[in-house]
């Protein structure tokens, strides 16, 4: 047992921890400075709000994904679930699979509130099904949600017949395109959701149980944590956020597409992982995820803004993602060494 020495050195590690935690943030700021120097339009408030609105969809899902990954799980189904919830919301909003913009006004359908409710309930229910498959059937999350990835997509295509469902009433569209002051509504939704998630993870027993399950599920069980309940809950949470994101996305595009969200799982998981959450569970934070999502959003926007060729863009994005995490690691070793 470290005795007096420990208390003397206690300060050190904490200051380092501070730097460590902000590795991705520092990298994000550096990136923003570079882009600002390269193109004056980058810091244009309109552009910054654009970026924020763009990241709010994947960001919402990434919030839920943070819970899942903290338990050492993974959810590959989010893109498909997004499409499924979006399609359900659209069908509910319009009262059927019709794609006419003329039908806007929603007289035929059940309106935005029913659509929102439907998206959230379907998302949470699909999440619950996946969670139960993980806990009851003992199938690894990777397999369950890979199954989900094709199942929800198949169902989306089935209910929509492949085509999009478009044209919502003004209230619904407001959730995607409206502003409160200068701030886009999706950004506000994302911000509120992020704060709530942060509070839940940091300040509730459930949140701490999520960390415990991810840190060592067996030990958590031995300590009296109801591991299965926690696991089902995190899949419900990510499903719920898929529903919310689907509603916002449909509102923003004024359309629900059957092909929405393809490949989102990787974007969302990268946001979480770049934010410092460990895929082996137990370590991570919502703040990190928000930074991770912002980093990806800024990167894509900055490259587009600078008219970098789309092929080169892909190479640069890949390199910078790796560098961002490498930088974070490097800071951590420096901070400690």
């Amino acid at each position: 047992m470290t005795t007096e020495a420990a208390s003397a050195e206690r300060k050190g590690p904490n200051m380092f921890k501070l730097i460590m935690r902000f590795g991705p943030l520092i990298f994000l700021l550096l990136l923003m400075i570079v882009f600002a120097l390269m193109n004056p339009n980058f810091l244009n408030p309109v552009n910054l709000f654009n970026v924020m609105r763009q990241i709010s969809i994947t960001g919402l899902i990434a919030l839920g994904m943070t819970f899942v990954i903290l338990t050492a799980g993974i959810d590959l189904s989010v893109g498909s679930l997004l499409a499924f919830c979006g399609m359900v919301a659209a069908v509910v909003a319009k009262g059927g699979v019709t794609s006419s913009l003329a039908a806007a006004g929603g007289q035929a359908g059940f309106g935005w509130f029913a659509a929102l409710l439907a998206a959230l309930i379907v998302g949470a229910a699909c999440g619950a099904i996946q969670g139960l498959a993980v806990t009851r059937l003992k199938v690894p999350p990777f397999v369950v949600t890979l199954g989900g990835l094709t199942i929800w997509r198949g169902l989306t295509l089935t209910i929509s017949g492949g085509g999009p469902v478009s044209g919502f009433d003004a209230t619904m569209r407001w959730f995607g395109t409206g502003l409160i002051g200068p701030v886009p509504v999706p950004v506000i939704i994302f911000a509120i959701a992020a704060i709530i998630c942060h509070m839940v993870l940091r300040y509730t027993r459930f949140g701490r149980a999520v960390y415990a399950v991810g840190g060592n599920a067996e030990a958590a069980r031995l300590s009296g944590v109801r591991v299965d309940r926690v696991l089902v809950s995190v899949y419900v949470i990510v499903g719920f956020f898929c529903g919310l994101a689907a509603f916002v996305l449909s509102a923003r595009l004024n359309s629900a597409e059957a092909v929405a969200g393809i490949g989102y799982e990787l974007t969302v998981i990268s946001a979480v992982v770049i934010g410092g959450t460990s895929l082996f569970g137990g370590i991570g934070s919502i703040a990190g995820t928000v930074i991770g999502a912002a980093l990806i959003g800024v990167l894509v926007n900055g490259l587009v803004l600078n008219n970098v060729s789309s092929y080169t863009q892909q190479v640069v994005i890949g390199l910078i993602l790796i560098l961002a995490v490498a930088f974070d690691r490097w800071l951590k070793t420096r901070a400690r060494g």
């Binding site: 047992m1 420990a6 590690p13 949140g207 701490r208 415990a212 840190g215 031995l222 951590k332």
Partner: protein, 532 residues
């Protein structure tokens, strides 16, 4: 040790719990547990009364942990029943056991490595403040008090993975004690602790006994068991082998051993045979220093260690928990970076930059943290056994000579009396002590020039412990230089030719084993304490 005045009463195996006013707090009747074809427990009955310490004794693999896991709701029994206050209960889960007032400290550490000490103590019951949110301040304050009670002085915000095994063990004990409970079950809580911590734990146990708490206690350190236990139940091969009760004095150790192994104890506890005189210096350590390690910020920093290790000699290293013994071993082994100092092996200076280098040079290390640093839980016993000697078993540039591997394993199985079904079963199906023996075999198969063993008999039963000591002596006789780190002074005294003591990363004393005693060592271990 013990004065043999107590009576050892042999009680028939099937004594059912007495009904009436003396109803025991906990009773087990006809408990049987099978894992597939393996019978871990067979028709075991015992009882635990309010305000007593019951020792559960037995060799490695006797079924002790299995019994305790059943009581903790971790595993269901195959047959038999459990009664609490005379009423039968079915314990369905660890939560359920806790709600029945049964708290368990498991043999394998069961903390959450990624969380802080405070959170581990309050897992699932974090103090709630305003708005129903976790009150972190209160949690830290209370955690500090709780760990102080067991004498641990670390920041409760420390992440558990940064603690030594001993510290983790103390945190587990602290947590168990902070839960209000009627029954405390402890599976080898002292195996990682040094004398000071053990003494503190025993005094806490005595106090709890006064308060009416019933304690069931497993240990392979017979002195401490004999000192604290009011009664003992002994298991052998999963069956009840006897009950012992404290008379006027502590339960005598020979009686315990006799019950455990089923024969007289005399030859078991003999001091290893005399050895040839040590040869020339094999390993010379000069001015060894380390810097704080990023991976283990709370590990002790070596502060200029000088040491000579002779061929054919067993050097014991004694010290309190956190004295830097493990650090010393890891630094020599190339597992941690060295900041300054020289290592000389057989006259040539060496600089092992990794364990692979050290092993290639002929240095071996049995690490102290079996679960995290030695065991490949998902792999078979054979793979676990030969992993450090892959090059020795490989032919034609890489094909494994499995026949020879199996033959050698069978040899060590016999030599170390390892209880296992077959070489391909996964090692996590073995009892803790038998796992330790496989790890020892791993290094014996390597046949190193210098072998460092860090807590080599952690969780190993008396009989096997003596065997391990015997083996170390035999190895030394072959000219190998051996360094034994142990928190059990009797072990150090039993096996060493020469003993050094450490404190805070420095060597504080050296004695030939002939002149050493527990008291002298304790004095040296406390030497050089800052500000005293």
């Amino acid at each position: 040790m013990t004065s043999g005045t107590a009576t050892a009463a042999q009680i028939p195996a099937h004594t059912a719990a007495q009904p009436g006013p003396a109803t025991p707090l906990l009773a087990i009747e006809g408990l049987t547990k099978r894992f597939g074809a393996v019978t871990a427990l067979e028709n075991v009955s015992l009882s635990l009364r309010k305000g007593e310490v019951l020792g559960l004794m037995g060799e490695n693999g006797a079924g002790k942990s299995t019994l305790l896991k059943i009581l903790s709701g971790v595993q269901p029994p195959t047959e038999g029943r459990i009664l609490i206050d005379g009423a039968p209960v079915t314990i369905t889960s660890p939560q359920h056991a806790q709600s029945l007032g049964i708290i368990t400290i498991y043999q394998e550490l069961s903390l959450i490595p990624t969380l802080s000490v405070a959170e581990n103590i309050f897992i699932g019951r974090a103090p709630i403040g305003r708005l129903g949110l976790v009150d972190w301040g209160r949690m830290r304050r209370e955690a500090r008090e709780i760990i102080a009670r067991v004498g641990l002085r670390i920041d409760p915000q420390t992440v558990v993975s940064a603690l030594s095994v001993a510290e983790q063990q103390m945190v587990e004990i602290a947590r168990a004690l902070s839960l209000s409970s009627r029954i405390i079950i402890m599976d080898e809580p002292t195996s990682a602790l040094s004398e000071t911590e053990v003494a503190r734990l025993l005094s806490i146990m005595a106090r709890l006994r006064e308060e009416g708490v019933a304690i069931m206690f497993v240990t392979h350190r017979l002195e401490e068991a004999s000192g604290i236990c009011d009664r003992m139940t002994v298991l052998r091969d999963g069956r009840l082998a006897g009950h012992l009760e404290r008379g006027d004095g502590p339960i005598p150790i020979p009686a315990i051993i006799e019950n455990m192994v089923g024969r007289a104890a005399s030859e078991l506890y003999a001091r290893p045979a005399e050895r040839a005189t040590p040869g020339p210096v094999r390993l010379e350590v000069r001015g060894l220093r380390t810097t704080p390690n990023p991976e283990a910020p709370h590990a002790i920093v070596l502060d200029g260690v000088d040491l000579d290790l002779r061929g054919g000699e067993i050097l014991g290293v004694a010290g309190l928990v956190g004295s830097g013994r493990t650090e010393l071993a890891r630094a020599i082994f190339g597992a941690d970076p060295v900041a300054a100092g020289t290592l000389t092996l057989d006259g040539t200076e060496i600089r092992p930059a990794s364990p692979a280098d050290a092993i290639a040079l002929g240095i071996g290390l049995v690490p102290e943290d079996r679960k995290h640093q030695a065991i490949f839980a998902a792999l078979g016993i054979l793979s676990n056994f030969s992993i450090a000697a892959l090059d020795a078993y490989a032919r034609f540039g890489g094909l494994m000579d499995e026949k020879r591997e199996r033959a050698d394993l069978a040899e060590y199985k016999r030599m170390l009396n390892i209880r296992m079904a077959d070489a391909d079963q996964t090692i996590d199906g073995l009892s803790g002590g038998n796992q330790q023996k496989v790890i020892l075999a791993r290094w014996l198969a390597r046949d190193p020039k210098v072998l460092i063993v860090d807590e080599p008999t952690r969780g190993v039963d008396v009989g096997a412990k003596a065997e391990v000591h015997q083996i170390l002596v035999q190895l030394a006789a072959r000219g190998i230089a051996i360094m034994v780190i142990s928190s059990e002074l009797p072990e150090i005294l039993a096996v060493s030719d020469r003993i050094v003591t450490m404190r805070e990363g420095r060597i504080t004393g050296e004695l030939p084993a002939r002149e050493a005693s527990e008291a002298k060592l304790m004095a040296l271990m406390a030497l050089g304490e800052k500000g005293q």
